[in-house]
């Protein structure tokens, strides 16, 4: 947790209920959540005798009985409020495939009780706009995907074009030629998202594998123009990034800091990975390694 120029970082954890399959198999619950303390306790089922359970503390904790609306009101609503004021906000959903990231982020759109973070955010933004009296708002949406170090504009007509990450001294990092669409209401922004989602599923033979390896970022830019006491128009721009990260089970890399030494000892068969092997040898600051950055960072 750190304060960075007025923006705060919050980490919350959510646990899903056991699936029918898990219950039928008589699976043991190894997770306990204390909502009041904001703690998650993990009990290792294969623990050695005397081995203590591990406890982790978060800013907030949501257990299996938590409601979508609760999560939204407590954790997300303040963030959207600040975006409407002209600040930037980002929401990451991180977890292994099957842990319920999509349920939390998307939920069931048609069911008001089961709507996730995204549809609730849309509703929140446009309701606020419709209630505003002295301000003019402009809402734009963009949708991009990162897969195997390449960036795709999910809303572009020409899907063969890959996008580049560039930097501007004044505005920082940006994606060159990323398209954006103006949306005037919830229906329109939903439409944009659906368009992008459709594009996402095209061009992959194994959808599960694909979606569990690609990261998607939906960007909502909210521009607010208000006539001040000085008679001048003041503009505030807030950006909301909704990030759907790839399944974190893929995140363990070679050379790993992890608990998986077996995977780390795997020999790469193809000489095309020679570059990676060589890069890993270089351990020094006064060097330049060509071309090894991950666009995700």
């Amino acid at each position: 947790m750190s304060r960075v120029l007025g923006e705060a970082l919050k980490v919350v954890a959510r646990c899903r209920p056991m699936s029918r399959k898990e219950e039928a198999a008589g699976s043991e619950r190894i997770l306990a959540m204390d909502v009041k303390l904001g703690q998650v306790t993990l009990q290792n089922p294969k623990a050695a005798p005397g081995e203590l359970a591990k406890t982790f503390t978060f800013d907030a904790v949501y257990d299996a009985s938590s409601k979508q609306a609760d999560l939204y009101d407590e954790t997300v609503r303040p963030l959207i409020d600040s975006v409407l004021q002209g600040f930037n906000g980002t929401i990451f959903a991180y977890g292994q495939t099957g842990t319920g990231k999509t349920y939390t982020m998307q939920g069931v759109w048609a069911d008001p009780e089961k709507r996730g973070v995204i549809p609730n955010s849309f509703e929140h933004i446009f309701t606020h706009i419709s209630r505003s009296q002295n301000q003019q708002y402009l809402v734009r949406a963009s949708y991009l995907e990162i897969y195997q170090e390449e960036i795709r504009d999910l809303l572009a007509k020409d899907q063969s074009k890959k996008l580049e990450v560039k930097e501007n001294p004044e505005t920082g990092v940006y994606i060159k030629d990323l398209s954006s669409f103006v949306t005037k209401n919830v229906k329109e922004i939903e439409h944009v998202m659906n368009l992008g989602n459709q594009t996402r599923s095209v061009g992959s033979t194994n959808m599960n594998e694909y979606s569990s390896r690609s990261h998607a970022i939906f960007v909502i830019t909210v521009e607010c123009s208000e006539t001040g006491l000085d008679g001048e128009d003041h503009i505030r721009v807030g950006k909301l990034n909704l990030v759907d990260l790839a399944g974190s089970e893929r995140q363990s890399k070679q050379g790993g800091q992890g608990e998986r030494p077996k995977e780390a000892s795997k020999i790469n068969l193809s000489l095309s990975a020679l570059g990676n092997v060589i890069s890993a040898l270089v351990d020094g600051k006064s060097t330049h390694i060509p071309y090894r950055d991950s666009k995700l960072t």
Binding site: N168, V277, L281, T287, P290
Partner: protein, 499 residues
């Protein structure tokens, strides 16, 4: 292991064994038994070497046992497959050594793999060039400049092969062209690091305990160089040579443009500097500020570092000062255009480097002034203005550490602790260096100086763990905190003699 004895006696088996050993090596590595993998791969390696020593003919490829007579491979093809299998053996060994943290051996095997790719296996020029350039960076960390230069020179030569090949498809896109330009610029950046590291390493060897060039060390090293040159170098060189004879010539030609020996005087340093500067210009062409902010700034920081290390070799203070001025001139415009909200770390680096550079320039002007009979007003003005610019940038750096409520942090984070303390220390010293004939002003400067020295001492008392980060500066600060009040008293007394 029993396989070795059985198969070695039969002529056609070596390649089969090579392949089997490779596969076993891979299998065992997947099971996490990396040492076992190592054994199988090393035995494949030994077999290859033994076989090649005792029998020149390429062995039968394992598939050939199942082919009709007409279908069997030509000698050339057999040889090619055999060599390719061996290249893979070496490549897998490189990875095994890496996992076993035998880094030097891993590098050696990577190097040999690259070598063999040129000779036997086929390669993609751009990929090969980038790999060689990356390997050169490994050698830099080991101070092996001859090997590093060789890799870089080879990278240049092989990369140029990519430009020559006529593009198979007509629609070699603009994207491809741009990719090519980018890769070339990346290789240029590796060269910049080579030149910079060579110069900085030479500096470390030559500097005395106050950071100046030690003439005795210089003569020592020059004498040493004459002796060492020949045999040892030739031996090392032969081990790492890339390529067939025509390639060798091109690579040699590129190598001859820059030395791999430690530059020991200004002339030699300048030559290395100029090569580095050329590559800076090449890299900058692609990595322009607007579009590649971070990369561009890194390149300019390297350029500034090149000037800084060249200044070390320059004896004349005025010329040294001019080199530092070049640094300021290239860093300041970038600093002004950067938005600290998005580039906080880089902004802080630039602030600090600008402050340090102005500080260095001021010290030089003082030294130049000390040689004169009397300090003229022009020099005084110059010294004061440089000192104030240094203070300005150190203050900007310290300001960047404040929290959103503009309060200086109670406790400093580890990564900014030393720079922050050094900034405070330098500001204290700078106020002590300002020249003024106005007694009152002088008292004010001393007061400010005292405040900053006191800050350091107080902070270290409150946070004892900080002491080890700034031992020297703390010592001096304590001294000054003791001395300054007395000096100030004396000055006050002098200013008002009629109390």
């Amino acid at each position: 292991k029993h396989w070795n004895n059985f198969f070695y006696s039969v002529e056609s088996i070596p390649v089969a064994l090579s392949l089997i050993s490779n596969n076993l090596g891979i299998l065992w590595s997947e099971r996490g038994e990396i040492k076992t993998a190592q054994t199988f791969l090393e035995s494949a390696e030994t077999l290859y070497n033994q076989y090649m020593k005792e029998n020149g003919n390429p062995p039968l490829d394992p598939n050939e046992h199942f082919m009709a007579e007409e279908e069997k491979l030509k000698d050339q093809e057999r040889s090619k497959r055999f060599e390719k299998a061996y290249t893979h053996t070496l490549y897998y060994l490189a990875q095994v050594y890496q996992h076993l943290e035998m880094i030097e051996k891993a590098a050696e095997y990577c190097h040999t793999t690259l070598k063999r790719q040129l000779e036997y296996s086929g390669y993609y020029p751009v990929e090969w060039a980038l790999n060689a350039a990356t390997l050169s960076q490994y050698y830099l960390t080991k101070q092996c400049f001859m090997e590093s230069r060789h890799c870089l020179a080879a990278a240049n030569v092989i990369f140029s092969q990519a430009g020559q090949a006529p593009s198979a498809e007509d629609n070699e896109t603009e994207q491809d062209q741009q990719d090519l330009r980018q890769r070339k610029a990346e290789i240029a950046r590796c060269w910049i690091k080579y030149c910079l590291t060579l110069l900085q390493s030479a500096r470390k060897l030559l500097e005395d305990n106050i950071g100046e060039l030690d003439p005795d060390r210089q003569s020592e090293l020059k004498a040493q160089r004459k002796k060492e040159e020949d045999e040892k170098e030739k031996g090392r060189k032969k081990a790492v040579l890339f390529g067939t004879s025509d390639l060798c010539d091109s690579i040699l030609a590129t190598e001859e443009k820059v030395s791999c020996l430690y530059p020991l005087d200004f002339q030699e340093a300048r030559e290395v500097f100029l090569v580095g500067q050329n590559y800076v210009n090449e890299a900058k062409e692609f990595f322009q500020f607007d579009g590649y902010v971070t990369d561009h700034i890194e390149i300019i920081q390297d350029h500034s570092a090149l000037f800084k290390v060249l200044a070390f070799f320059e004896e004349d203070y005025e010329r040294r000062c001019k080199m530092h001025k070049r640094r300021v001139d290239m860093l300041e415009p970038m600093y002004v255009d950067l938005n600290p909200q998005y580039y906080l770390l880089i902004t802080r680096q630039l602030q600090f480097e600008l402050a340090d550079t102005y500080y260095e320039m001021m010290d030089l002007k003082v030294a130049i002034g000390n040689r004169l009979e009397e300090l003229d007003s022009h020099t005084i003005k110059k010294i004061n203005s440089l000192a104030q610019l240094a203070v300005k940038y150190y203050e900007l750096f310290l300001d960047s550490l404040r929290n959103p409520d503009r309060i200086f942090p109670e406790k400093l984070e580890d990564d900014v602790l030393r720079p922050a303390m050094v900034a405070k220390f330098h500001i204290a010293r700078l106020y002590g260096k300002l020249i003024t004939s106005d007694g009152k002003k002088q008292l004010e400067n001393m007061q400010t100086s005292l405040e900053y020295y006191t800050f350091l001492v107080d902070y270290c008392e409150k946070h004892p763990e900080a002491v080890q980060a700034i031992e020297t500066e703390l010592e001096l600060s304590k001294e000054m905190v003791g001395l300054l009040p007395t000096r100030m008293e004396r000055l006050r007394a002098k200013l008002s003699p009629f109390t």
